[in-house]
């Protein structure tokens, strides 16, 4: 049987239109750039005090591009929507069939947006995100992948590791031999596994590590950056020197070193994990103590809970000694995790240190000092909350950076098992097919990685823009 087409039954009508619109868009964008060199302002005030807007050619070209982009988006949506109106894969097309597979994601996305927009007035900075088109677009892309990771088992059509004979390097849309009516939507890779299912499973791998590793890096950076910026002096000099040392060391070489079996035997990754993973516990204990030391009952409760849960998780994650077996991390993953935290923490440290140095000169910090507050209260409750804007933005950007880093690690085959579906490893395994012009096994994870990082960057831009307003 022939593979199904990308665009299904609407293809013959929409494909030429799509091509025409794309060409028109290219022309209008070019015209817009060229015309903007020659024209002046659009609005002129009249003698009677009213404004008259005359559209310059450049603005007309800009309006045309806007409509063309909308048209292209509408066609893309149609390609997806047609999948829901037919059960026949050939009529659905690859786009349509994929859109149907992603149905839990669409439901979750629509619910998230509907609720958020409905209550955006009460949601602070998160609510304000829905005033910015850029931020909304970024948030939508990020949430698409988050929901994909959550619902991966429902979405995937095959087990990401199962091989079907005869499907080696199959083109996208090929019917699976021997299993009637099932399709490798995005084709098969060199080991005859389903690329679509591997992409979906890879999202789960990537999204499980990147945000958590970034969060740990932030904990370490904040816990060290606050005192360095606040106290300054020799403490700051020494910490900054070590931060610069880590930053100056070639990252890839560092990774190679950390995952080399000989180095692992020495236990260095475990020691690093032991050092890095204790920071969240320290951070939270100091946070509660500085705030509630005037009320020992409350303080003991909060610090106690933190210590109990924190040390339990710590013993499991860092040393794999959790008696109950809830917290554990396989050695490979631990390596990757620790390396990522280790190279990200110094940058966060420098950002936090700079923000602290700026904020410690404020009068409310002096007011806290003159009423006898301890330094940790001032750092954690007076300074840190007011540094949150830039930190949230950096957190989003850094998740993207970490995602790329994980991709790079996977690409070099560092620290992850060879058959792991994570995007970096998949790109690497698809790399060998590029010379014989089989693109899809490498291209699909590459585009996924790109769209997730793009979404995170757009989200960060939106947050930055909105946090500056008020």
């Amino acid at each position: 049987m022939d593979p199904i087409t990308w665009t299904g039954s609407l293809g013959p009508f929409l494909n030429p239109l799509f091509a025409a619109l794309t060409a028109a868009l290219a022309i209008s964008v070019l015209a817009q750039i060229l015309l903007s060199f020659f024209t002046g302002p659009g609005a002129e005030a009249q003698g009677d005090g009213t404004l008259a807007a005359t559209r310059s050619p450049a603005e007309m070209a800009a309006a045309a591009s806007r409509f063309l982009v909308l048209g292209l988006v509408a066609i893309a949506v149609l390609y997806g929507v047609q999948g829901f109106f037919s059960a026949d894969p050939a009529r659905q097309g690859i786009f349509g069939a994929m859109a149907v597979r992603f149905w839990p994601v669409w439901v979750a996305l629509i619910a998230t947006f509907a609720l958020s927009i409905r209550f955006k007035g009460r949601l602070g900075l998160y609510g304000k995100l829905f005033d910015s088109p850029v931020g909304m677009a970024g948030f939508a892309i990020v949430m698409f992948w988050v929901f994909t990771a959550i619902f991966a088992d429902t979405i995937a059509t095959f087990n990401p590791l199962s091989q079907v004979s005869g499907m080696r390097n199959a083109v996208p849309g090929s019917f699976v031999r021997g299993q009637e009516g099932t399709i490798y939507l995005l084709g098969g890779d060199d080991l005859a596994r389903d690329v679509f299912s591997r992409m979906v499973a890879g999202a789960r791998r990537v999204l499980a590590i990147a945000p958590a590793a970034t969060a740990f890096a932030f904990m370490v950076g904040i816990t060290l950056g606050l005192p360095a910026g606040y106290f300054g002096g020799r403490f700051d000099t020494i910490l900054s020197f070590f931060a610069n040392l880590v930053l100056a060391f070639p990252v890839i070489l560092l990774f190679y070193l950390l995952v080399t079996p000989e180095i692992r035997v020495t236990g260095i990754p475990i020691i690093l994990a032991a050092v890095l993973f204790i920071f969240p516990v320290i951070f939270l204990c100091v946070l509660w103590n500085s705030r509630y030391f005037t009320d020992p009952k409350k303080r003991n409760l909060y610090v106690g809970i933190t210590l109990a849960i924190g040390l339990w998780a710590y013993s499991g994650l860092a040393f794999n000694l959790d008696p109950l077996g809830v917290w554990s991390m396989e050695p490979n993953l631990l390596n990757v995790f620790v390396s990522v935290v280790f190279v990200n923490a110094p940058t966060v440290f420098r950002i936090v240190r700079g923000l602290t140095m700026d904020l410690k000169a404020r009068d409310y910090v002096s007011a806290a000092q003159t009423r006898g507050e301890g330094p940790w209260y001032i750092m954690l409750w007076e300074i840190l909350p007011n540094a949150r804007g830039p930190l949230i933005v950096d957190f989003c950007l850094r998740i993207g950076y970490t995602t790329i880093l994980l991709g790079t690690l996977g690409f070099f085959g560092l620290g992850v098992s060879p058959e792991s579906p994570d995007w970096g490893s998949t790109i690497n395994s698809g790399r060998g097919l590029l010379p014989i012009l089989i693109m899809h096994p490498a291209l699909v994870p590459a585009l996924s990685l790109m769209s997730l990082v793009l979404g995170l960057n757009l989200l960060a831009d939106g947050l930055r823009e909105e946090s500056l307003r008020d």
Binding site: T370, G372, W381
Partner: protein
């Protein structure tokens, strides 16, 4: 692009019914409505008003520099007969800088830090007139000499950061003058400077206006400055001009209730906290999108009449017999303008009790290392030298001085953020000079508290108002339970006259005055006995200043608090303090009761300071004493008397004693100390700086 001929007898700048709005995503915010004013050639026009009244917006509209969101929605701005509103970008570029120049508040932000001063100045005529570089540099040198900067050649070769704030502002003025503009717009040009430096700049601006015949649009919130600089003024309130006319006429015969209320809320000579207290304007400035119908000032006005004042937009009415004197009030003809203000509540004088705080020979030195790697000679900054005074219960002691005089260092040492180098601080018979704040007991810490200067900085922006006050209560160990502390917090809000609902608000939802009240409530959370108020009202608008000052006085009366009031504004100091301490470069140069300090004999520095403070009263005659140069750096103080480099009395001291020897502390009268070498005859020959002319 030749400009049409312009007849100098016609107005240079004519603004007619100008309306400006800012467009945000939520709504259109009208910033200026129906604003008209005329500036003739050679005239200085003052724009006065509180922050947010639209005075800077008018100036930016004249420059057509309203940004992306601002738009002129109606009216006309004619400059030399040409309409600026409809002018194209190219033509505007020819006018900006060349014919209309603008001077901003912050001099460092107006200068390019990477370019030498000379190159920046020469650029102006090179761009606008195509002047050759050599000729432009010669012109720059001449103008720098014109703005009275010493050693013009050296100044031209230096970078902006090598100059002091006053010198930088002079360079900005010089730059504005390089193209010989017809109109100079000054937007609060002296707000960032010290008083004695400000006085020099104001003199310079006035002289240059006369010399070059430049017209000026002078924007300020300070009525005293406007009186010194301008011929005419325009009082603005909430986006509208409410009164306009010649300065002398408006000051003597104001015809708008807002102008009158403004004058009653500023401390003029003669006002007194017990017998003639200030009258604060009730209520708050309306937000631009919440303006009342009819007269904008209506809700805060004592003459308000329902049905007339809130019926329709009030037009500008001309006052007959005046020189283009207009007022935007429907009732101006009916109000008895000569009536004295309704008897404001008169407070009782706080009885002064025992000595609470005593300083003996307090010194604070800082060591500054010479180079980055510890090399170079270590320098010592003497921030405080032999500070001795005592403060009694219920007393207000004002500490007066300009930046760098050591008043903030003194506050830090008193609060325990720094420890003293030598000397003693005795608080309730307890030595605290060597005890840093971490080691002080809760009682000591809570009894010495501070109110800060900048209302926008004094509260943590991410904590509710109530939470911040409760935190202070927790730290001071007040109250046994959360419930008790919450009630105490609400009582504190009552004390500072804020509604109890404010407990749940975030600081950004409060106005400057309200934030300052929260700051005061927080300082009094632990029943403070000594409160250091570091310029608590200088960043507030005049109408709010009076209310906050009153509040401080009220609390002082109630709690018998000792108030150490740090300020550079001698008008407010004269109004509320019992005793005054004048500081210069770390030294107390004069200390005495308010009457003693404000009457001769003065310390020469006090005399200059008194003369520098602008007074918004045309019946007051002021002697003009201008200090040369800037305050010397504390890193490198002059030998002998710290003030000798700028003192005009120095020649009267025999044998150059001022340059070699530190003057001793002399008692002129009981409780009146002065640090000066001047012989008794010279001191006695001093004349009062401020005299109220016979009416």
């Amino acid at each position: 692009m030749t400009a049409p001929a312009w007849d100098p007898s016609q107005p240079l700048l004519e603004i007619e019914n100008l309306s400006i709005s800012f467009f945000t995503r939520l709504r259109e915010i009208p910033a200026v409505m129906d604003f008209s004013c005329t500036v003739m050639a050679g005239e200085a026009m003052g724009l006065v008003g509180e922050s947010g009244c639209g005075k800077s917006t008018v100036a930016l509209a004249v420059m057509r520099d309203l940004g992306k969101t601002g738009r002129i929605v109606g009216g006309r701005i004619r400059f030399k007969g040409r309409d600026l509103v409809t002018m194209g970008d190219a033509e505007l570029r020819g006018i900006r800088g060349a014919e209309i120049a603008m001077i901003y508040q912050e001099p460092m932000a107006s200068l390019n830090p990477g370019m030498k001063v000379g190159a920046q100045l020469a650029e102006v005529p090179m761009i606008h007139q195509g002047m050759a570089r050599d000729a432009a540099m010669t012109l720059a040198r001449q103008i720098v000499a014109d703005v009275k900067l010493p050693d013009p050649d050296r100044i031209l070769r230096s970078y902006p950061h090598q100059l002091s704030g006053g010198q930088q502002q002079r360079i900005v003025i010089a730059m504005a003058l390089m193209a010989k503009p017809a109109l100079l717009i000054l937007d609060e040009p002296t707000t960032a400077l010290d008083v004695t430096v400000e006085a020099g700049i104001v003199d310079l601006v006035r002289e240059l206006g006369e010399k070059y015949g430049t017209s000026m649009l002078f924007i300020s919130h300070n009525l005293g400055l406007v009186l010194e600089v301008c011929d005419r003024l325009c009082v603005m309130y909430s986006g509208e001009a409410v009164e306009t006319g010649p300065v002398s006429e408006v000051f003597a015969k104001m015809r708008h209730p807002y102008t009158q209320a403004l004058f009653r809320s500023i401390p003029l000579p003669g006002a007194d906290k017990t017998s003639r207290p200030l009258v604060a304007i009730p209520g708050n400035f309306p937000l631009p999108h919440e303006r009342p119908p009819g007269c904008n000032f209506g809700p805060r006005c004592g003459y308000f009449e329902t049905g007339r004042c809130d019926a329709a937009e009030v037009p500008m009415a001309l006052v007959p017999g005046g020189d283009r004197h207009g007022t935007r009030c429907v009732k101006w003809a009916e109000i008895d303008w000569a009536a004295p203000p309704a008897a404001a509540k008169q407070g009782e004088k706080t009885p002064v009790g025992d000595v609470v705080l005593r300083m003996e020979d307090l010194r604070k030195y800082y060591r500054v290392s010479g180079g980055a790697f510890g090399g170079g000679a270590e320098k010592v900054v003497k921030a405080n030298e032999t500070l001795s005074f005592e403060a009694r219960e219920g007393e207000t002691l004002a500490i007066v001085g300009e930046s760098g005089c050591g008043k903030s260092t003194f506050a830090k040492v008193l609060m325990g953020l720094e420890t003293a180098t030598s000397g003693k601080i005795v608080l309730y018979n307890q030595d605290i000079q060597d005890i840093p704040i971490e080691k002080r007991g809760v009682d000591t810490v809570s009894s010495v508290q501070m109110v800060f200067q900048n209302p926008f900085d004094t509260l943590n922006p991410s904590m509710t108002v109530g939470r911040q006050i409760i935190r202070a209560l927790e730290i001071f160990g007040e109250g046994r339970s959360d419930e008790e502390r919450r009630n105490r917090m609400l009582e504190l809000l009552d004390l500072v006259k804020l509604p109890r609902q404010f407990a749940e608000r975030m600081p950004r939802q409060l106005s400057g005055g309200q934030k300052q009240r929260v700051g005061i409530a927080r300082a009094f959370a632990g029943g403070a006995k000594v409160v250091v108020a570091d310029e608590p009202v200088s960043a507030l608008d005049v109408s709010v200043q009076a209310a906050v000052t009153d509040l401080l006085m009220d609390i002082q009366r109630k709690n018998k608090t000792t108030l150490l009031f740090i300020s550079h504004d001698l008008s407010i100091v004269r109004y509320l303090s019992d005793r005054v301490m004048v500081m210069y470069l770390g030294h107390v140069v004069e200390l005495g009761t308010t009457d003693q300090v404000f009457a001769p004999p003065y310390h020469p520095y006090t005399e200059a300071l008194l003369s520098a403070v602008p007074v918004a009263d045309i019946t007051v005659e002021k002697k003009r004493i201008r200090l040369e140069g800037d305050i010397p750096s504390a890193l490198n103080p002059p030998p002998g008397c710290p003030f000798q480099t700028r003192c005009r009395w120095k020649p009267q001291v025999a044998g150059g004693l001022c340059e070699t020897e530190m003057p001793p502390v002399r008692d002129l009268a009981p409780g009146h100390h002065i640090k000066c070498h001047l012989p008794a005859e010279a001191l006695n020959s001093m004349e009062p700086v401020i005299q109220i002319a016979a009416e």
